[in-house]
């Protein structure tokens, strides 16, 4: 294996697109976000449905209380972003596999993009601008800390 043969001809150039390989990163994202979502979603279900009074505890006060805590704000934001992009990318894959006409494909992909962006923007807005103590509401419906404000 000593000598090296010089390339006899111009090397074969493969078809290749330069730049970021979105298909690869999409594939990796699906797996990574899937693992994180398993923890986030089951943690979410456990805390909301099983801990303490369980499902009976869920009301405005419960949600308001959760979203006044930065920990749950971050948790829910992560869950929202990861899940929406994960689901949107999955739908994109299905459309790419099944849509035969270029126009159908464009329309469906556009609809998915709009839905994902709208949900993420609205959801994020709600999580961070949520007012747990709206003025003039009966105190028994509000989180307990509202009285002290």
């Amino acid at each position: 294996m000593a000598t090296t043969i010089e390339s006899p001809r111009a090397p074969h150039t493969a078809r290749r697109s330069r730049g970021v390989n979105w298909e690869k990163w999409g594939w990796i994202y699906m797996r990574a976000s899937g693992v994180v979502l398993l923890v986030l979603i089951f943690g979410h279900l456990f805390v909301n449905l099983l801990v303490g009074d369980g499902i009976k505890a869920i009301d405005f006060a419960f949600v308001g209380g959760k979203w006044s805590d930065p920990f749950w704000q971050v948790w829910d934001t992560l869950m929202l972003w990861l899940a929406m992009i994960h689901g949107g990318n999955g739908m994109r894959t299905i459309v790419n596999d099944y849509a035969t006409k270029a126009t159908t494909r464009k329309v469906l992909l556009g609809a998915i993009l709009v839905a994902v962006v709208a949900m993420i923007v609205l959801g994020t807005l709600v999580i961070y601008t949520f007012d747990p103590c709206p003025a003039g509401s009966p105190a028994d419906l509000l989180p307990s800390f509202c009285a002290t404000r």
Binding site: M1, A2, T3, T4, S7, R15, N21, D97, Y98
Partner: protein
């Protein structure tokens, strides 16, 4: 010699019971481009033995009933990969599918493999399949010369690394069973990836990175949805989906 003759007369024989034959109905998807606008289903009844194969049934039909039935076969023993077809909805080699393994109380449906242009009866145009095969550069590439008057040496472990994918006979049963390939002929298909795998993981080959680049394409390995149709279809028992997954891993690592 005498003993041999004696033995032959002595041991000869209580007459054996005749081997049981069955009437098997085959419904074959026929298409003659000169006559038909659309493929049509035609049924044939043939007398078969349990140990016969679907290929024998096709021969019987062609030789005794309808000479216009068209199909490919070369070696007829599961090596050449010419007679992949869809038998009862599954991609199989006609020469490896035994009558006894099928439910002959019902008709057996035989049609051409899907996803490649139908030419006549059970024959499809294999060119798109071979085009993507060629694209992965399925040949040994090395810039170093082998030891003088010797072959390139490889350890048993290095050889075993890609042993499974050397078994491919290019019958197209896997690629034409892949739903992604059915909807998008741009996809390389499992067979091309299997044959790329065979060289990517070969320690003597030096062009692995080129092939990984080719398969990192938009229509490369990332289109695989791991439906395992290819693994189920492979007449050689190659773990196709696993080979594709190994190529994905290699692309992420950037080396085999």
């Amino acid at each position: 010699m005498a003993t041999a003759v004696a033995d032959a007369t002595a041991g000869a024989p209580a007459p054996e019971a005749p081997i049981e034959a069955f009437t098997v109905t085959l419904i074959i998807r026929r298409f003659d481009p000169d006559v038909d606008d659309e493929p049509r289903w035609q049924d044939f009844d043939v007398q078969m033995f349990a140990t016969d194969r679907i290929l024998d049934a096709l021969h019987k039909i062609k030789w005794e009933q309808d000479g216009s039935l068209t199909f490919r076969r070369s070696c007829a023993h599961g090596i050449c990969g010419s007679d992949a077809m869809r038998i009862n909805g599954r991609n199989r080699l006609a020469c490896k599918t035994l009558i006894k393994d099928l439910d002959i109380t019902k008709p057996i449906y035989v049609e051409a493999i899907k996803g490649l242009p139908l030419e006549k009866d059970l024959i499809v145009d294999m060119e798109p399949f071979f085009a993507s095969y060629r694209e992965v550069q399925p040949f040994l590439q090395s810039a170093t010369e082998p030891p003088k008057d010797k072959e390139r040496v490889q350890s048993v472990a290095d050889r075993a690394r890609f042993d499974d994918t050397t078994k491919c006979i290019l019958c197209a049963a896997c690629t034409s069973s892949c739903p992604v390939f059915w909807t998008d002929g741009q996809y390389f298909g499992p067979a091309a990836i299997v044959n790329a795998h065979r060289f990517i993981f070969d320690s003597r080959d030096e062009a692995a990175s080129t092939r990984l680049d080719i398969l990192n394409d938009k229509e490369g390995v990332w289109r695989c949805r791991t439906t395992f149709n290819c693994t189920d279809a492979c007449p050689r028992g190659i773990q196709v989906t696993q080979a594709i997954a190994e190529v994905k891993q290699a692309i992420m690592r950037g080396k085999p």
